[in-house]
Subunit: 238 residues, 2 copies
């Protein structure tokens, strides 16, 4: 039986093995939700970049630059970190270079280790689960957290994915068990359960209630997003 | 309002501040449960020690030595890490030097930082909560985890303590919110909920079902255990 584990923050990644696994990176508010939305809405490719300066320089190489720090759009960037900016094909056919506080950092931690690296969001939950069923790989879900700390929203997504995969994956990791329980008990009230979470409060201060609601939408986009080389694109089913 | 946070493993401690706080260290299976039991059962003092060799040498200084690694009694030690060894005053009046895989490591991480350091166990849950109500200190619960990883049993205890303190403490930390939810939904079935946990399975392989059951007993001992200098003793109420 294949195995599934949950690493609750990138700070704990050294305790897990990413090699020969499918790693699902999740940053619900908002990096991976935004990546899934952008590609579904026609963006050609996304280059995740760890620091603001590298990202900024890519502007001269034909990339639209998207940058966020501490929940707000970084100075001088065209786009911030809202999935709503990409709706109705607003950047269809474009290449995006993107840097965020937690999400792009998490991707970099596993990018040369894992066999497959997928972007997880509630928006493409079922498609990602279906794809993982077809692979002959153990799964590690890497929650991006908030500046190294555990957060509720990424954990709830991890629990949702563990729940969907539990028929064919073994889940003896305590992080996976806790996440699965938290999700299954709150699956019909994600928004109200998360309303007490630290990150939701932080984001609400920036007037992005609409982003939160959108990021908690289940299965709006039936796509799988993976890292291919340095670039995130829509994966073709194998 | 006082604040309460939960650090889910010592690996994340660098993201929290222990200074000027009451830190509750918890290692349910079994270090802090054993410490609370030993002192309740008449042990005069416990000296927590991080490594086996230092602990072994204390044998010549009048200490009974207790040592555990990976769930089993360390070679050449008088005691392992079972609370049952201390029942019926078996070591009443004695001094114990103790080293364990996770618990004594966690204590050492905060011992020169926190204002007060308490040992938390289900066995003395209410007494610890009552004591924290009397202090004018914010609280940080430090889960010992398993070799750096998150574990369910320490998290459930953290949730129980957050739940008891929530009337007078603010709990905006996501770790505290998740722990509180996990505990409140499972408070009447801790043993069956934990039967799926990795650590329970690990300990069951060592035939210590009785230890597990004992460590999950609520409020058997109405004492508060704190670190005073290098020594753990029963705290007098202030």
């Amino acid at each position: 039986m294949k195995n599934i584990e949950v690493c609750l923050t990138p700070e704990l990644l050294k305790l897990y093995t990413a090699e020969n696994k499918a790693v699902v990176v999740v940053d619900i508010f908002r990096a991976t939700s935004t990546m899934v939305t952008a590609l579904s809405e026609g963006v050609a490719a996304i280059l995740p970049v760890e620091d603001l300066e590298t990202c900024r320089q890519l502007s001269s190489e034909g990339y639209i630059i998207a940058g966020e720090r501490n929940g707000q759009k970084a100075e001088g960037f065209v786009l911030g970190n809202s999935p709503l900016e990409y709706l109705e094909g607003a950047y269809s056919g474009q290449k995006i270079a993107m840097t965020t506080t937690n999400g792009t950092f998490a991707i970099n931690q596993v990018k040369e280790k894992a066999e497959e690296i997928l972007m997880g969001a509630f928006l493409n939950l079922q498609a990602t689960a279906d794809y993982l069923h077809t692979l002959n790989l153990d799964v590690l879900i890497l929650c991006a957290g908030w500046k190294g700390k555990f957060n509720l929203e990424d954990t709830l997504y991890a629990g949702a994915l563990v729940s969907l995969l539990s028929s064919t994956f073994d889940t003896s990791c305590d992080g996976a068990l806790a996440a699965k329980f938290l999700y299954e008990q709150n699956s019909d009230q994600l928004e109200s359960f998360l309303s007490q979470a630290s990150h939701t409060k932080r984001l609400q201060n920036h007037n992005i209630e609409q982003d939160i609601k959108f990021c908690l939408t289940l299965n709006k986009y039936p796509i799988v997003v993976s890292l291919s080389g340095k670039i995130l694109t829509i994966t073709q089913e194998k």
